[in-house]
Amino acid sequence: MFNCQNALSEKARSLKPSGIRKFFDMLTGREGVISLTVGQPDFATPWHIRDAGIDSIADGHTFYTSNRGTPELRREISDYMSRRFGLSYCPEEEVLVTVGASEAIDLAIRALIDEDDEVIIPVPSFVCYSPLVEMCKGRVILCETTPEDGFKLTPEKLKAVISEKTKLIILPYPSNPTGAILERDELSALCEVISSTNAVVLSDEIYAELTYGKAHTSIATLPGMKERTIVINGFSKAYAMTGWRLGFSCAPEELTEAMFKIHQYAIMCAPTVSQYAATEALRNGDSDIEMMKEEYDRRRKFLTRALSDIGLPCRTPEGAFYVFMKLSDYGLSSEEFCERLLEEYNVAIVPGTAFGDCGEGYARLSYAYSLDHLKEAVKRIEKFVRSLS
């Protein structure tokens, strides 16, 4: 009898299932769960953007586009990067439209990493970086950030792990799951460390539009950094377009060219309808971002205060839409806390360990939910923590 297991590559076999997935699977089929787990906006895509997608189908734009993305969209991305972040990229040679920011991350890692190349990944962070590096047989060098540092990568921490073998440094800020951001002076201090090496920076800026009170600074705007940085962004979080699967990278021509080759063979081009919709988003969507950001900001303030009021003080996140809540005072591991909260009070939050071992003692709460939903969740969490003490 044919054995599928034997047919699998060593790479696929050795790939560990995502820790976050395991927890999500526990929610399947459960009734009445108040979930704070979802990592995507609760807004539907704004109507004018949806209409642009619908119109593109009605007008018969149903063919492949240029592998790199439509020229119009790449021009709009170039204008957007200049308008919003003060960065200048050539739309013809330095911009690549991808299937979500996730594809761009995959392309960047595959374009850069050979066997034993070292990749520095600050943790806790988004779950995809390490497996993608491992699939290229690169060496994952985790750099643990701490609450004392505000979960930010510091120059001291970076110095301790950076070496001549460092090929790539991933900067996932604003951070999922911690909500930490890196400000210009903090980036500048990191640049001093990076500039003496040959490392490339992958700056995952998917939450760049969701910072509160402080504008996002891209590391590529710092002197000498643009030529060694791949900036990755997308439409999912800023324009509430997760299902459209559209992202992009901006990088020097040689790096873009290498990513483009892989993209060309693997994907061909990003979905045409999504590209038309995204063009409209960039042309007329700045006010949508502001509207959604204002709403997230209210919820952010509400949730941090509400948690503090029930004896769970947490760092006020400065970006993204997550609160990283400390729960180490209850004598339970993160997983135990989250599992019991789910079992006993039907509230789902994600254990911090899903984002790296150093997330132990924390849990991620998404506030991409209505206020009523957040209130109910906090009410149940309060009952749970009271039952523990």
Partner: protein
């Protein structure tokens, strides 16, 4: 817009505590501000938006266009006062239209009730030249709220 007014205009059910948390203020500060808005005549009231189709209450809305002759000394204001004093009148606007002058929203239990109100109360008011009544057949959206919007969270957990 002032943040407190914006919140209240979106949802009049927000408590002082909720608003204080969302705006990073104290409850006392919120209460003081609301009190000042009321005293200054800025905050006139807060009303719920009810989808009567989902209740067993009979509820009809009509928009009535009124053509009127403004009075020499007080223009449209005197006629407006004579109209808005009726509790059936939910809103009254002076319009820029060339076809009519005042737009009245009237609510009642039945179409007949509203028809009587127009015929017996509105039409006879001095200065009213003509009325044109439009009954609402279905409400899709009112005051920014979509009536039939479904609220099932379709989002999947994908990392």
């Amino acid at each position: 817009m002032e943040p407190i007014l914006k919140l209240l205009s979106e949802n009049c059910l927000y408590s002082t505590k909720d608003m204080a948390a969302m705006l990073d203020m104290t409850e006392e500060e919120i209460e003081e501000k609301i009190s000042a808005y009321k005293n200054d005549g800025i905050l006139l009231g807060c009303q719920a938006i009810i989808d009567y189709d989902k209740t067993d209450v009979n509820h009809i809305t009509a928009f009535i266009e009124l053509k009127v002759n403004p009075q020499p000394d007080r223009g449209f204001d005197r006629i407006a006062e004579n109209i808005y004093r009726y509790p059936e009148v939910m809103s009254l606007y002076l319009m820029s239209s060339s076809g009519y002058d005042l737009l009245v929203t009237v609510e009642g239990a039945t179409m007949k009730e509203i028809a009587y109100f127009v015929a017996r109360k509105l039409a006879p008011i001095e200065g009213v030249v003509s009325t044109s009544t439009h009954f609402v057949l279905k409400k899709y959206k009112s005051k920014g709220i979509i009536h039939s919007s479904h609220t099932v969270d379709e989002r999947e957990n994908c990392n």
